[in-house]
């Protein structure tokens, strides 16, 4: 979403939270079959993303507000989303079911829960999809064009507001999917958004904002750094959580554009 609009959306973690609560409501409360519940959550999130853009972003952009204005408006939306959930549901974490049940797969040196493998598979699917869209389709190219030069893109006949609305809808869907995927492990909770967003932004900084693969690469690096430090690094347990942040600082100092640079 950052790509075509240049807007950093701090509410992305709360979108993930809304997705997780959607999972709780449909899958746990109403016991819908998983694929149906998942599709409904994705559709609702797309709508929510579109609505967010309509309410919080477009009026500002149309009135020519500086880029900072929608970013701050979205920070406000973060509070709106979180508090709406916090008053609508009891404060405790809510369980969300696993699509493939609770179990573990050992495969040579690799091992993990069914859910871990499901998350890896879905993530790859989403990234391949996003990569194909941005790199291989005209519509994707039009997003790129908007990112490079809004006015020029508009002059070329690209509908700016449609691109923005679409990118918000897609962004919210993917954030909601992330929330749905992670919620069987961490449970749906109204404060779950911020840590997820921090991890996401760290991954983005490490990987590079300009490229689709950047976020994936950054996410993988961050995950390996986190998990391997906890498991193998000979440092007291309390310090292991500082390692990813150290990594972030090193990247900001040495390579502030991230590992992968945007193509010229």
């Amino acid at each position: 979403m950052i790509r075509p609009t240049g807007i950093i959306n701090f509410a992305v973690g709360e979108w993930a939270m809304v997705g997780a609560f959607g999972g709780f409501l449909l899958l746990t409360e109403y016991e819908w079959p998983y694929p149906l519940g998942m599709a409904a959550v994705l559709a609702f999130m797309a709508f929510l993303g579109w609505a967010t853009e309509r309410i919080a972003v477009r009026p500002l952009v149309e009135k020519g507000a500086p880029l900072m204005a929608p970013i701050l408006a979205l920070l406000g939306m973060l509070v709106v989303f979180r508090e709406s959930i916090s008053v609508s549901f009891p404060p405790d974490p809510h369980p969300v079911p696993f699509p493939f049940g609770f179990g573990r797969l050992e495969w040579g040196p690799l091992g993990g829960s069914y859910q871990s493998f499901f998350i890896i598979g879905t993530t790859l699917f989403v990234f391949v999809g996003a990569w194909l869209f941005f790199e291989r389709t005209v519509a994707g190219k039009s997003f790129e064009a908007v990112a490079l030069h809004r006015r020029a893109a508009a002059l070329m006949g690209i509908n700016l507001s449609r691109v923005t609305a679409l990118s918000f809808a897609a962004g919210a869907s993917i954030a909601g999917l992330a929330g749905l995927l992670v919620s069987p492990n961490i449970s749906a909770h109204y404060l779950m958004g911020i840590p997820l967003a921090i991890q996401g932004f760290t991954a983005l900084v490490i990987g590079g904002v300009g490229r689709v693969e950047g976020a994936l690469l950054g996410g993988l690096l961050l995950a390996f750094a986190e998990q391997l430090t906890v498991r193998y690094a000979p440092i007291p347990a309390g310090y292991a959580q500082g390692v990813p942040l150290l990594l972030l600082m090193v990247f900001l100092l040495v390579r502030p554009t991230g590992l992968l640079r945007a193509r010229a």
Binding site: F102, I186, M192, Q227, A237, G238
Partner: protein, 375 residues
Amino acid sequence: MKVLALVGAALVALSAQAQDTIKIGVITDRVGVSKPYSEPSTEGLVFGANEINRKGGILGKKIELLVEDDQSRPDISAALARKLIDQGVVFILSMSLTPATQQQQTVTMEAKTPQMTPMNSGDTLTTQLPNPYFWQTGPLGSIQIATLLAHARAKNLKRVSLITDNSDLGQLIARFFRSGLEKSGIQIVSEEVVPRGATTAEPQMQKIRAANPDALFLAGVLTAENVLILRAYRQFGLKFPIHSSYNLSVPVYLTVGKGLVDGVTFVDAYDPDKPEVREFEAAYRKATGKDPFNMHGYGYDGIMLVAEAIKKAGSTDKEKIREAMQSLTYQGVMGAKGMKYSFPEGKRAGFDPNGMVVRVYEGDKQGRVVYTGQK
């Protein structure tokens, strides 16, 4: 003139109504971090007040609760205490976070207004300020840990692991566990931390598995992270027992930790077999249609203690209530069978050090008491 007379009559009616009730202030948390504890506790308190009023009130007057929400924020909390005192409350019940309760004391001490927390467990609440108007009846953190460790000694453990989260309270409880275990001569073979917002505790649990302990002590207080820990434990099919802090007594684990908690022991101040508890649960169910749990008991005992003190004082004079409270002995819902709250020798923390119990999860239910006290 007619209008003025009407207003006058209304004012008289209002003040008459105000005189008819005994006002008790309640400072709770409806939106902040303490909400999961404050809410059920306050529900228990409100139920207790209704019961008292149904039976005719105290000293022939009904209780009127003035409830305020401090969001667990100490800065707001003191101002609310002031507001309640200005509105004429004779007692304040503090139902939110320990630091907020502490902050309220600065006001109640100066305004000489009795204040009590029936649920906070911070050890220093009654020792930091020489506030004769403040009491605490929640079980102190040190009692919880001593009870858990007494249970561990009885189990003859030699080598244990310790896991917690990175919250203030989780770290604090882990520190108490560590020093207590070391004093008992029990070796800690590995110590792990799961940070807030983590998405897995598997690497931590792999390390613990490698250390092969006799038992795992769970000191975390963040529900989601504790569930991650329990999930990793089941995932690896581990067999050593888990002994947990008071945190696992909160019934949220029945739903969010479904299928994960069987066999885990936890410290609690609630014995389901205690006659007072059975009576309380039946009455609560009848009045509200809902099942109460341990948190409800705290608020219920709180308002009952206050009512008892006012009854004993025989008046709503704050000084008389203070004297009555200090000399009170009361057996309530919370605590092991037969436990009484009391404040001997000027102490203002009233929970009996031997009043806590260790319970065990049986299936997905909070089950029987397996150990009592700290001897």
